[in-house]
Symmetry: C2
Subunit: 230 residues, 2 copies
């Protein structure tokens, strides 16, 4: 009995209860993941609306009807791709933030986490950045909720940055946060891991630009000792 995908709900927990019911070629979860990976590639290349289930089936090495044995619908495939990516981004970020205190370092952790996941899963994050509005109803609401959590965690870092290092700044914090997301979510349009610099250099530069951008030139060499970042 398969637990999640053949049901009608949008519960994205994908682990089967039984570990390996059939070993024809990998477990059930492994076959799901392989098909999802193929679908991610196709959707990233041609876009969700233009990607046909026949294309996905061919790329995954199954028949068109076989595809529907694993997924209820085309939208469910997109939902799973997005939900898993956003979830990985968010939980990865929350874990890494536990070990860091200063908002200056937290911002660097956030940028490194995002670019790191991007470089390791370029197709997935392209689909996440480009197909934000392709889901409908509950599937949309559910991914939207995670994205809002991701925003709020990031916004919290930005708030603490302003409060600690630039409490008198007139910059709008929402605009600042969204400009950071813009720089990050635009990566899929131009970054080429073969030609661009190393992922770490990319993350460092994006974080540095953002930090200098909102903290600006130090007010003047006269204030108290807590005005300069460590």
């Amino acid at each position: 009995m398969k637990t999640s995908n053949t049901e009608q709900t949008f519960d994205p927990n994908s682990a089967s209860e039984a570990a390996a019911t059939s070993e024809g070629r990998g477990t059930y979860d492994e076959r799901v993941n392989r098909i999802l990976a193929a679908a991610t590639g196709v959707i990233a290349r041609v876009g969700y609306e233009k990607a046909s289930m026949r294309q996905v089936a061919r790329a995954a090495g199954v028949s068109l009807a076989g595809l529907y044995h694993y997924f209820d619908s085309k939208e469910k495939i997109l939902f799973l791709i997005q939900f898993r990516s956003f979830n990985a981004l968010l939980t990865g970020l929350r874990e890494k933030l536990h070990h860091v205190e200063d908002p200056f370092d937290q911002l660097r952790v956030m940028v490194r986490n995002h670019t790191g996941y991007f470089v390791a899963n370029m197709a997935s994050l392209k689909v996440c950045s480009h197909e934000l509005d392709s889901l409908t109803d509950e599937a949309y609401e559910e991914t939207f909720a995670i994205r809002r959590h991701y925003y709020e965690v990031t916004r919290g870092i930005v708030d603490r940055l302003f409060d600690k290092y630039a409490p008198d700044s007139t910059l709008d914090r929402h605009v600042a946060t969204m400009s950071l997301f813009g720089a990050l979510n635009w990566l899929y349009r131009w970054y080429d891991p073969k030609r661009g610099g190393s992922p770490t250099a990319l993350a460092n530069q994006l974080a540095t630009q953002f930090l200098h951008g909102i903290l600006g030139p130090p007010p003047a060499p006269d204030a108290a000792g807590e005005s300069a970042p460590p």
Copy 2:
């Protein structure tokens, strides 16, 4: 005889030779522009692939067949929307740059030009930012060429900024330029003119963040007199 749209080429010059051959409801060009505006709204709302010619025709107040009297194909409609927007962005920027010398001010001009055109034509720029890869062959090449020119003008400003104010910076100038485009092209995802601040405040903040971001804190209060922006 109509000059451009009914031909098979992708020449986007839209001015008819005869000023007003028909006055039923506006000139030929006015009718073309009204249909294009309606198409822009539909494509911005539901996406290019999902937008049907029937939907566009209904929004424009013409029949499905009547639509094909003005445009050869669906792709040509998207091409015209993108070509005209990119062209307006680029020529507007080039004009405004003529009166400005310092790269610091030039960058502010660029950001103001882009955000200003965005706020005045939100649907068009959403289509331009989101449907970059929906054109094929010559239509794609032609819009790609303008986008490259737009990049090169902006990159020139960034280069002069670095050369004049931060010649020893280790930041990658391509990454810096693309992060600026990311912040600008992501606007359509979140900026709401009713709730967000004024467009000028938005432009000022984005320009300030970018300038401080790449110029960083002044190296130290010991260098020569040309290290601080005017």
